[in-house]
């Protein structure tokens, strides 16, 4: 019996060492779920682009690769989740870890459902729309070859190129000013939040000072009550002693009365005789 217990303990210890040696399955599952979430967001963004002028064969190919990537991630995370679940059943782990694993399983189910929804939408749109082949591809390559033969460019074409470049610069300036305005507005909002956080900080400091002062008051109250307790205890003992002395006084008084009674009786008898 005792040898069997020792053997069982050793096997548990070795198993726990093995578990600690490799990566924690719960952490691995959490990391996998995070990666799946990120990949599903990317996939949804690509699906939203289907049916727009940006819908190109390259986009379809990227969509396909992303889908395969998500499938692989789901397979890996599912295996890790199963492993973590087995550990929960075999080894007596604490309740918080079981709760964390159950929560991870629920998160995994949620992200799988979202991926299936996005996948269905993707299939729907892939059949509804054909990829948009940009017409500018051929002129673009022609323009590149045109640039390669720069010496043959006519002054008119060169002026047109300069004009196009100037419009592009104007467009970029417009975008820059727009983004700067957005950033400035966001900065103002963040400044307000910062000032509010500063106010809350001051309030917390004031609260700390008040609580500290009241701590001193409570200490005073405590000492007052302790002193009152001691004084009351001493007074109680004094009163007890006084009570005992008073009982003795009563006895002495009775004794004196009895003696006086006897003396009076004797005197009366003597006088009567």
């Amino acid at each position: 019996m005792s040898f069997q217990d020792i053997e069982a303990g050793r096997s548990f210890a070795s198993r726990r060492n093995l578990i600690n040696g490799k990566q924690d399955p719960t952490q691995a599952v959490a990391s996998g779920i995070f990666q799946i979430n990120t990949a599903v967001s990317t996939f949804q963004r690509l699906v939203n682009t289907l049916g727009t002028p940006k819908d190109t064969p390259e986009l379809r190919d990227k969509l396909h690769k992303t889908r395969l990537h998500i499938g692989q991630l789901v397979k890996d995370t599912s295996a890790k989740l199963k492993q973590a679940s087995e550990i929960d059943h075999n080894v007596e782990v604490n309740a918080s870890k079981k709760i964390a694993d159950a929560k991870l399983a629920k998160d995994f189910q949620a992200v799988l459902k979202e991926f299936q929804k996005a996948q269905r939408l993707s299939a729907e749109r892939e059949t509804a729309y054909t990829p948009f082949v940009p017409q500018a591809l051929l002129p673009s390559s022609y323009t590149a070859s045109e640039v390669d033969i720069g010496s043959d460019k006519t002054p008119e074409q060169r002026a047109l190129l300069v004009e196009s470049r100037r419009q592009e610069v104007l467009f970029l300036d417009n975008e820059i000013s727009f983004n700067e305005a957005i950033i400035e507005e966001r900065e103002q909002g963040i400044q307000e939040i910062q000032s509010q956080i500063g106010e809350v900080n001051e309030i917390f400091k004031d609260l700390a000072v008040l609580v500290h002062e009241q701590g001193a008051m409570i200490d005073d109250i405590g000492s007052n009550i302790e002193h009152s307790h001691e004084a009351t205890a001493q007074a109680k003992s004094q009163l007890a002693k006084a009570s005992k002395t008073q009982r003795s006084n009563s006895s002495l008084t009775c004794l004196l009365l009895v003696i006086f009674g006897i003396v009076l009786l004797i005197v009366i008898i003597v006088l009567a005789a």
Partner: protein, 219 residues
């Protein structure tokens, strides 16, 4: 007030629009659609009286809204981005071949809902939501300060009362000690009186037995 008018168009063709008030925003919006230069993706804002027209053009689709000048730019452009995504997700490629006002029956309701959401719901903007939450925290902390001050006042009262109680118990102890002393002295006096009475009785008995006050027969 927030966003008052919204419009979705392709080039200069209006596909859907919604107006929250009776203004000439529609006419001005059409002028802006025709006036926007170039064909590139762009973000621009035009000012008109107290209102600002924010325009966002992406992938050949133009989304426009008219907002109060107090609404800033971040929320109107977030609104435009949201409308653009919803429109593309709903209609897809059909945008490029649609008739004027082809989507107005369905999408004007979406425009109305989103205008309401971005105009009045603080959750539409993360910074505004954070600002609201910080205001709540500040209010709660101010209440906490008030409650702690009340607690301080009561603690001061309690300090005074316990100090009084301490003084009273000291006085009680002193009086108890004095009472014990008084009772002890009374006991002492009674004991002495008893001894004296006993001595007197013994003397009288001896005087009687020895036949005289000076006890002549015994000595």
């Amino acid at each position: 007030m927030g966003i008052l008018y919204a419009l979705v168009g392709r080039g200069s063709v209006v596909l859907a629009e919604f107006s929250g008030t009776t203004t000439n925003a529609s006419a001005i919006a059409r002028q802006i659609l025709e006036k926007i230069p170039g064909n590139n993706d762009t973000h621009v804002s035009y000012s008109q009286d107290r209102y600002i027209f924010h325009v966002k053009r992406t992938d050949g689709l133009t989304v426009l809204c008219m907002a109060d000048d107090t609404a800033g730019r971040r929320i109107p452009f977030a609104f435009l981005e949201d409308i653009h995504q919803k429109f593309v997700r709903t209609y897809g490629r059909a945008v490029h071949s649609a008739q004027p006002y082809g989507m107005n029956e369905e999408f004007s309701r979406v425009l109305s809902q989103q205008m309401e959401y971005y105009s009045s719901d603080p959750n539409a903007d993360r910074i505004n939501r954070l600002k609201g939450e910080m205001s709540q925290v500040r209010n709660v902390m101010i209440e906490n300060i008030d409650k702690v001050l009340d607690r301080g006042d009561r603690l001061e009262l309690l300090v005074d009362k316990t100090a009084n109680m301490q003084g009273n118990t000291f006085r009680f102890r002193k009086q108890a000690r004095r009472f014990r002393s008084t009772v002890w002295w009374r006991n002492v006096k009674l004991t002495i009186a008893l001894i004296v009475v006993l001595l007197v009785i013994v003397y009288v008995v001896l005087a009687f037995v020895c036949h005289g006050p000076a006890l002549p027969s015994c000595f």
